[in-house]
Symmetry: C2
Subunit: 262 residues, 2 copies
């Protein structure tokens, strides 16, 4: 994990509910953030409700620092952004979460300490608190339903911070098994075998349609780009159907389907 | 808002807590999603706890549809992704939220209906449920703390869906006032005026340092790229200091600072 000093601090200004502080801490932990600052939490600190809602993100809760005023909470910071859902008067640049995360990532890389301000559940940040920030961050929400829960807002910024540190924004923690298509000969061999098995059952009827039917069959089996292990599954299934289907030109199976039906 | 049929449906499989359903609905509404499907919610449906937690996202709650099994919930869908924090065996591609949103956006544009599956609070999705999906989505979380709350997971996917529909992923609902730098003559005129005011106070001392000091002053005032309204603020502040400072070569002011101090 990154050193906390190279990460943005999450600053919650006068949060009202311990549950929200806890859910914010959990969201931070999900994306590797450790530094939580609380300005004058309404119900005091520490908070058992916060700890319960943090769902084992105890290290974030334990290391949270309480301040009396927003200016104190960001005094040691070099670059500060304020989250808000409302347009504000003034001269501040407005950033999307993606831009804000990239900007902070670049500044952190240059040794600057960054903080993200989040406002109260009901009122957000006051103008004089927004004024502390270098820039505003706002979320691309539905304008008709723009009020984000505070923990959700913390989550989105934490998520974008994590993404800004990935080599590619499309990186994930794990990747699927490599599904490179098998060597084409494996597929062709399967199709050949299948053609024979189907021929024996009279699948290709009328006979003059066979080339077209075979083309279709090849297309259907080619398009998925089956990997070698997938082809093995397909072949196993087809072979199983083949083996247990009572056919005229084979000795009757010893198996379960003996006697009855088609 | 987009027509719901062109949006992905959010499918919660056996959600346990009404509060989580409600918070998920709120997150959907924040990012303009309307179609919520519930598979066998543990505490029944409708749920007053869900409605309370939805925080006025009533339309999402009211239009939620309940299904008995995951296969029923996605029966009318063309493309399905399953969210999971764990690596799974099998042949499914693994997508980041960004990739999944782009893929669904492209398919929705081609008339395909898409769904996103979310698992239970404690266990996630079972393997046979993941098997219903075309692809897996996983979040770029801290591997040491990878368990996302269900509403948080819904939020992230809803957010990425919204972003995938923006002309640029850095779009926001509102933008700051345009802070184009003022015409340079406005800045130069301010600097000229300031030079005179400072000269009168003997600021440029010793005299041979004046050119360097003036260069610095020009640099400091140029770098911010002040807009015309910002320059007006700066000029007002400086003019105010100038007017009310008791100076030798001016008649004493009539104002408040009369008499006392420097």
């Amino acid at each position: 994990m990154e050193h906390p000093d190279t990460q943005p601090a999450i600053v919650l200004v006068e949060p009202q509910l311990g549950e929200n502080i806890g859910m914010a801490a959990r969201a931070m932990a999900n994306f590797g953030l450790a530094s939580l600052r609380l300005v004058n939490p309404r119900d005091g600190w520490p908070s058992e409700k916060a700890r319960a809602a943090a769902s084992r993100a105890d290290s974030v809760i334990d290391s949270a620092i309480v301040f009396a005023a927003p200016a104190d909470a960001v005094g040691d910071m070099n670059f500060i952004v304020a989250t808000t859902a409302r347009q504000r008067d003034g001269f501040k640049p407005v950033l999307s979460p993606v831009e804000a995360a990239r900007e902070m990532r670049a500044r952190a890389g240059a040794g600057q300490r960054c903080a993200i301000l989040f406002g109260r559940e009901k009122f957000g940040l006051f103008n004089d608190e927004v004024a502390l920030a270098d820039a505003i961050v706002t979320f691309p929400v539905d304008p008709d339903f723009s009020s984000l829960n505070i923990a959700q807002a913390v989550l989105l910024m934490s998520y974008e911070w994590m993404k800004s540190g990935l080599a590619a924004e499309t990186d994930t923690v794990f990747r699927g098994v490599d599904v490179a298509p098998a060597r084409r000969e494996a597929l062709l061999s399967l199709i050949d075998w299948l053609e024979t098995a189907l021929d024996e059952r009279g699948y290709f009827r009328p006979a003059d349609k066979k080339p077209k039917m075979l083309d279709n069959l090849r297309s259907v089996l080619t398009r998925p780009g089956f990997s070698q292990p997938e082809l093995a599954v397909v072949r196993g299934v087809l072979a199983s159907l083949d083996a247990f289907h009572p056919r005229q030109n084979k000795a009757p199976g010893e198996g379960r389907t003996k006697g009855t039906g088609a």
